[in-house]
């Protein structure tokens, strides 16, 4: 059962990921990205990360991407124009990307130590209880710091986005 699910959702993830890059219209890219996130959430579930999967849906798909779509609708951003294509990025970029891919592939083949396997339900350490417990005991300080970070982000966003009074 597991390999089936993995292959299915991995395929969806990759296909939609490619779609994010290929689509000309931001909205299409955004929705494909939502699809990627959803399928990743399923993959998290397969690995027993219930809480994170749900958080992925709520935070990423439910909040962040909605924000993206909101902004796209607000700016009424049309499809990206293809004129004035800067060749520099292509000439240097494509080789760089291919190089990155090759390097990753090669070293994952050779350098990766022997890893185990994932079967649904063979590890139940990712429930809300465990995550919450770890979060509020040994990771308490980082957690608080992130809350401060969020606060800073909120203030910054407001300052940036509000109209200059003059």
């Amino acid at each position: 059962m597991d390999p089936l699910f993995f292959l299915l959702f991995a395929f969806i993830a990759v296909a939609c990921g490619v779609n994010v890059v290929l689509q000309k219209h931001p909205i299409s890219s955004a929705l494909s990205l939502v699809a990627v996130m959803a399928s990743l959430a399923v993959l998290y579930l397969l690995q027993g990360a219930e809480f994170i999967a749900m958080a992925q849906m709520i935070v990423y798909a439910g909040a962040i991407m909605v924000l993206f779509i909101f902004v796209i609708m607000l700016l009424n951003a049309g499809p990206e124009e293809t004129k004035g294509r800067s060749w520099a990025a292509l000439i240097f970029g494509v080789p760089a990307i291919i190089g990155l891919m090759g390097a990753l592939a090669y070293f994952m083949q050779t350098g990766m130590p022997e890893l185990g396997s994932v079967k649904f339900g063979d590890w139940k350490g990712g429930g809300a209880y465990e995550v919450g417990y770890a979060l509020f005991t040994e990771y308490l300080l980082p957690f608080e710091v992130t809350s401060v970070l969020i606060l800073i982000a909120i203030v910054g966003a407001i300052v940036l986005a509000r109209k200059e009074i003059d």
Binding site: F6, P26, A157
Partner: protein, 113 residues
């Protein structure tokens, strides 16, 4: 890892962790490609999110590999950072659009020299 082992794993209805890592690598590279090739600033931003997601996947995979919840927490923190980043980044995009009325990343190069 050698094919025989993979076949063995699959026969037990399990998936090799390495596959998850490979998937995350692929997604990451896709994100990089988008980041380099796209010119709509919003799309570029989305590609960053895609890269973050890819990294998250590998975090989760390693968490499962070592049977520790720490990886989940890193993912959690990445999400928080992503949320903050999205808030500020989109605010910046709004301001940029308001001041320059363009979303094309190539036309925004005031930092030149």
């Amino acid at each position: 890892m050698d094919p025989a082992q993979v076949a063995e794993t699959l026969k037990h209805g399990a998936v090799p962790t390495a596959w998850y890592l490979a998937l995350s690598a692929v997604l990451f590279v896709i994100g990089v490609a988008g980041f380099i090739l796209r010119r709509n600033i919003i799309t570029v931003f989305m590609c960053i999110e895609l890269m973050l997601n890819a990294v998250n996947l590998s975090f989760i995979a390693f968490a499962h590999e070592h049977k520790q919840v720490a990886g989940h927490l890193f993912t959690f923190f990445v999400m928080v950072v992503a949320a903050a980043e999205a808030a500020v980044g989109l605010a910046i995009i709004l301001t940029v659009f308001r001041n320059r009325s363009t979303l094309n990343i190539d036309e925004i190069e005031s930092l030149k020299n």
